[in-house]
């Protein structure tokens, strides 16, 4: 097995190149939104329960549902869909930009303008 100790591998925490760096940045943004929303909603419900007992949770009705049911059962799945859409839009844009870049390069190379 060849040991390439001088070679530094890219990783999620050490991305190499502009493509991977920008991808990791977007993934971090999406995953932060994902993590904060899940933990945040449960902490919110938990703190309401601990600090105000059932008084506030009884009164907070949203779209016909108790707030904790609405947050976890309705909003979070919807929020996940939105996060996926945002990620896909960004990926599509990046793909188009990369494609345009490579096409431009090819056209220039064919015409020999850069040479």
């Amino acid at each position: 097995m060849e040991n390439t100790s001088t070679h530094t591998d890219p990783s999620f925490f050490k991305p190499h190149g502009t493509t991977m760096r920008s991808e990791v940045r977007v993934i971090s943004f999406i995953l932060s939104g994902w993590l904060i929303s899940i933990v945040g909603c449960q902490l919110f419900a938990y703190l309401l329960e601990v600090n105000y007992s059932e008084l506030l949770l009884d009164d907070l009705i949203f779209f016909n549902l108790p707030i904790q049911f609405w947050l976890s059962g309705q909003l979070l799945p919807l929020w996940f869909i939105i996060l996926c859409i945002l990620f896909n839009i960004w990926m599509d844009r990046r793909t188009v930009q990369n494609l345009e870049g490579s096409l431009r390069f090819r056209i220039k190379a064919t015409r020999g303008e850069d040479e």
């Binding site: 070679h7 999406i30 996940f80 996926c84």
Partner: protein, 509 residues
Amino acid sequence: MAYGMIQLVPIAIVAGMFALFILSGLRSRGGQSSEYGFGGSYTGRVGIGAGIASNWMSAASFLGLAGIFYLKGYFGMAYVVGWTGGYVLLLVLMATQIRRFGKFTAPDFVGFRYESDTARTLAAVISIIISVIYCVAQFRGIALLVSWLFGIAYFPAVIIGTSLVVSHVVVSGALGVVRNQKLQYFVLIITFILPLMLLTRKLGYFWILPQFGYGAAIGELQQQFGFNWSEPFASTSLFEWLALCFTLMFGTAGLPHVLSRFYMVPGIRDARWGVVWGLFFIALIYWSAPAYGVLARLFEARNGLTLNAGGADAADMIALSGAGLGGAPLWALGLLAAGGMSAAFSITAGLLMNGSASFSFDIYPRLIRPNASEQDKVYAAKAFFLVLAAVVMTLTFQPWGMIAEIAAFAFALAGNTIFPAFLLGIWWPRANATGVICGMLTGLVISFMPLFIGDTLPVIAHLFPLTSSAFIGAPLVMIVMIVASLLTAPPSAAIRLFVSRDVHDCPEN
């Protein structure tokens, strides 16, 4: 709900639905087919999404979730969030990258990425164990439905249910039936939501969107029957809720049959957008599932019945029995039963075929018969299919939990083993064969530990609950993988270069 009598109308609806799927499958068999059991033609991103959703729907979504809400109230939301949030992880961390490896199954991926036959075989064994556990949940759902449809006890219903599943796979295979996944999803969503609309309308609630309308039932339960929904963490702790939720998410991103979906789609862009549609279609079911549990409680309270008098079996059938108590017509109950049967049958058939394919391609020619011919492998696959069905049937006689809980155990195992192997395999080129083997073995131990020593060491059962062990387990496995990889020789330069350059588009150093 009447046990002990044959439900003729629901049986006719169930039979009619299966006939519809077979006829539709026969018509579309000129399209694509695949040895992995995910055949079907793809028409656009919505079609891919419907395929993802129909492949995902199971007895756990159709019957199990309502039972969990009925028994455990807000705790059931951990399933809803876990089973939808996992798709975000899957999309952003894996969907794009795993396609670039060009491998068709989880063992294929592990074998190629870690350049190890041992790791590949271990991944195949784990995939089979996951399939077996997941199938037990489905067989339990099928057995409960058969028990209700034919008015027979649970034990013979398990045997009849198993025979029906095996016959379904054999007949479909002999006729060359291809699954029409769009039709299947469309039928599933209708059979799930239509009875719910009928029930909420009957109660005078907002029936057009019963996903919101059932909130009135929560108020009525609280005001008239003193049933308290306002303390979400009264019976289960915040840790238990989050542990289950994250375990289900890690498991979603690690289930072999879910990961395989991404290889079957023609284009990467279509695969990504297909996930969005798939998540939307899945969410449609999960937005509605809590309503069945809540309404069932209300109907029981109105009829003066005590909560969960019938035990776990009754809780798993609460979507049907609650609808029956609420006065839903027999044809609506038949629709629900047909939807549940269809979801359980299709996923069971897929998992059993996946398991037998893993055995015949990854285990049989490597460990049992090294010079096996292609014909031998086909025979081995058929024989192992029957063995798997028999094993699942035996385990279903004495299930260790409710449908959703058994499914969650399969997710925990996937989250502790396959998920870390894929995640580090994709995002850390330095991860090597020793690391992944140590990691997957650690994941196996963590997953089964609460089952075997949970009673002796309560701290194990507390930190690694059977259904929720991947919350702490998956990060632990990743640490083991990282340490073991760093202590041993790195993988070959070729595979590291492949991950850097071909998977992540990194410039060469």
